[in-house]
């Protein structure tokens, strides 16, 4: 089985079906580029991978392990389906099949049993209980995320932006007893924690040098250019040592020159052996850096394969049209 494997991802916002069955595999150290026109579901797919959106149906495997399974789609008669196909296979893992028992509640958008339309917002299609949310939060840390709009914490300097989450993660790993002991001056726990934080500081410094910003440790995000901010955001995602790093159109908010510096960092990360999933509009970049390209249209994967296959010899009409259109755009520029 592949290192990372996504099967049968469905996601709808109300009656709007955004993802209609997505499957793909990714090997360790590979870079996957997801391309497609706006509204094709690329970003939603990436957000489902990160569990920022909870898909209505999905089976996700990472390193031979079923890290997430859910099936809360309404069946045609309006009930929540109890399709627990691989229930016994992975009892210890996050298992979200069989809705009621595992704390999933489907908020039906239309044809509710009460017979009247229930108002749903885009974000509350699948409701989860606290325990399930906690499990998902733990799985989420296996995926780093770099946003289109950076989303750095503006009130913290670069150093604090980087170390904050890593420090909190360390504190989370302490036992109840240790959490109290960390406040006692001179205690073992406190000293160990101090050493660990020093380690985190060093890691942050190394990462910042890796993205070419070794001298910006003390700067605030507002003092940096967009490209620099995005590189800090990449370093911030890497400090938690995620298995897979996800990028949601990382250069869409940047001008061509700043785009270059960010793309260079991503190329360097590939050399370091990071597994990455990149949603992008940079076709040239996708072609050069990706090991695998997915072209999405209308919530399904229209075509996937190596860059040479997808870009050089597209099979589907939609892919051809999309690639021609984006080439035309470059020519016009």
């Amino acid at each position: 089985m592949a290192f990372y494997s996504v099967k049968n991802v469905y996601k709808n916002f109300g009656s709007n079906n955004v993802l209609k069955g997505i499957d793909f595999d990714l090997e360790k150290g590979q870079v996957l580029a997801i391309i497609g026109s706006s509204g094709s579901g690329k970003t939603t797919l990436l957000r489902c991978i990160n569990f920022l959106e909870i898909p209505n149906k999905a089976d996700i495997y990472l390193a031979e392990e079923n890290i997430f399974s859910i099936d809360s789609r309404p069946t045609p008669n309006g009930n929540v389906s109890n399709n627990a196909a691989n229930k016994d296979e992975c009892i210890d893992n996050l298992q979200l099949n069989n809705s009621k028992e595992s704390g999933i509640e489907l908020v039906k958008s239309e044809d509710s049993l009460l017979g009247k339309k229930k108002k749903t917002t885009a974000r509350d299609t699948v409701k989860l209980d606290a325990k399930t949310r906690g499990k998902i939060a733990a799985q989420r840390l296996k995926f780093g995320m770099v946003f289109q709009s950076f989303n750095l914490f503006p009130h913290y300097n670069v150093k604090k932006n980087l170390v904050l989450a890593a420090r909190l993660k360390y504190d989370k790993s302490l036992s109840e007893k240790e959490r109290i002991q960390r406040y006692i001056v001179g205690s073992d726990v406190r000293n160990k924690r101090k050493a660990a934080f020093e380690e985190i500081n060093k890691r942050a410094e190394t990462l910042l040098q890796r993205v070419g910003l070794g001298d910006k440790f003390k700067a605030y995000p507002c003092e940096l250019s967009g490209g620099q901010q995005q590189r800090v955001a990449i370093a911030r995602a890497l400090i938690l040592q995620p298995e897979i790093l996800c990028f949601d159109e990382p250069t869409s908010a940047l001008d061509p020159e700043l785009t270059r510096e960010v793309l260079k960092v991503i190329k360097d990360l590939k050399k370091d052996g990071h597994t990455m999933i990149i949603v992008t509009h940079e076709m040239e970049f996708a072609r050069k850096v990706a090991d695998k390209v997915i072209f999405m249209a209308d919530g399904i994967i229209e075509e996937q394969g190596s860059p040479d296959e997808v870009f050089g010899n597209p099979q589907s009409e939609k892919t051809k049209a999309f690639l021609q259109e984006s080439e035309k755009r470059i020519d016009e520029d």
Binding site: A137, G144, M145, N151, P154, Y220, P221, C222, A237
Partner: protein, 215 residues
């Protein structure tokens, strides 16, 4: 009456103004957080009750609220509030808590969704997200609105005279009527201007101090 005698009288009366001001802030700032939390909760009954409460407090004059707090306990339960200052303080604290709550709510809703999502992908829980990322930024966002409201509070303290608290204006009025001189009533303006001046300088300093980042 000499200028000096009037000044001493008015200074003496400003202890009510200053006292009411600081105690109201002390109570209303945390109470406003509670009201804000209730107004923003997903639990519908509390949300709607708080909404109605906010409507009532914002929808009636502060002067009326002071009168209600002072007289209604006596009328309903036969236990009148003996301490006039306490009655005024309760009315002020509730009234300002509601206005502060709305300012807090505005500040929190102005936070971009991206900040919450960044916290989520970095494995932070709700409490950490709020205390480490959201609230520190909200404080900066709401400082101008808060300083506006707090400056209004200085002048609103004069409403306490409706239940007979001898604050600056009432004192000046009684001097005017007993000594047949008009200027002390105009002179009170200087006291308010002085207090607001101090606050203005303070908030300027605070805003500058928080200006180490732009968001």
């Amino acid at each position: 009456m000499t200028f000096w005698e009037v000044t001493v009288e008015l200074l003496n009366a400003s202890k009510y103004t200053v006292g009411l001001f600081f105690l109201t802030l002390l109570l209303a700032i945390p109470l406003g957080m509670v009201v804000c939390a209730c107004a923003m909760t997903k639990f519908k009954p509390i949300k709607y009750i708080t909404g109605t409460f906010i409507w009532i407090i914002r929808g009636t004059p502060l002067m009326l609220q002071i009168i209600v707090v002072f007289y209604v306990p006596g009328l309903l339960f036969g236990t009148p509030i003996k301490n006039r200052f306490l009655a005024a303080l309760i009315a002020f604290a509730i009234n300002y808590a509601v206005y502060f709550a709305e300012i807090y709510r505005g500040g929190i809703s102005a936070m971009p969704l991206g900040q919450y999502e960044a916290c989520k992908v970095l494995g932070m829980n709700k409490a950490q997200t709020n205390s480490l990322v959201i609230f520190p930024q909200v404080v900066k966002k709401i400082t101008p609105a808060m300083s506006n409201e707090i400056i209004t509070l200085v002048k609103d303290t004069s409403l306490a005279n409706v239940i007979g608290i001898m604050e600056i204006i009432v004192t000046a009025k009684s001097i005017v009527s007993t000594h047949a001189i008009i200027w002390p009533i105009f002179y009170t303006g200087v006291f308010y201007l002085a207090m607001v001046g101090v606050l203005t300088v303070f908030f300027k300093w605070l805003e500058k101090r928080m200006n180490y980042y732009r968001a």
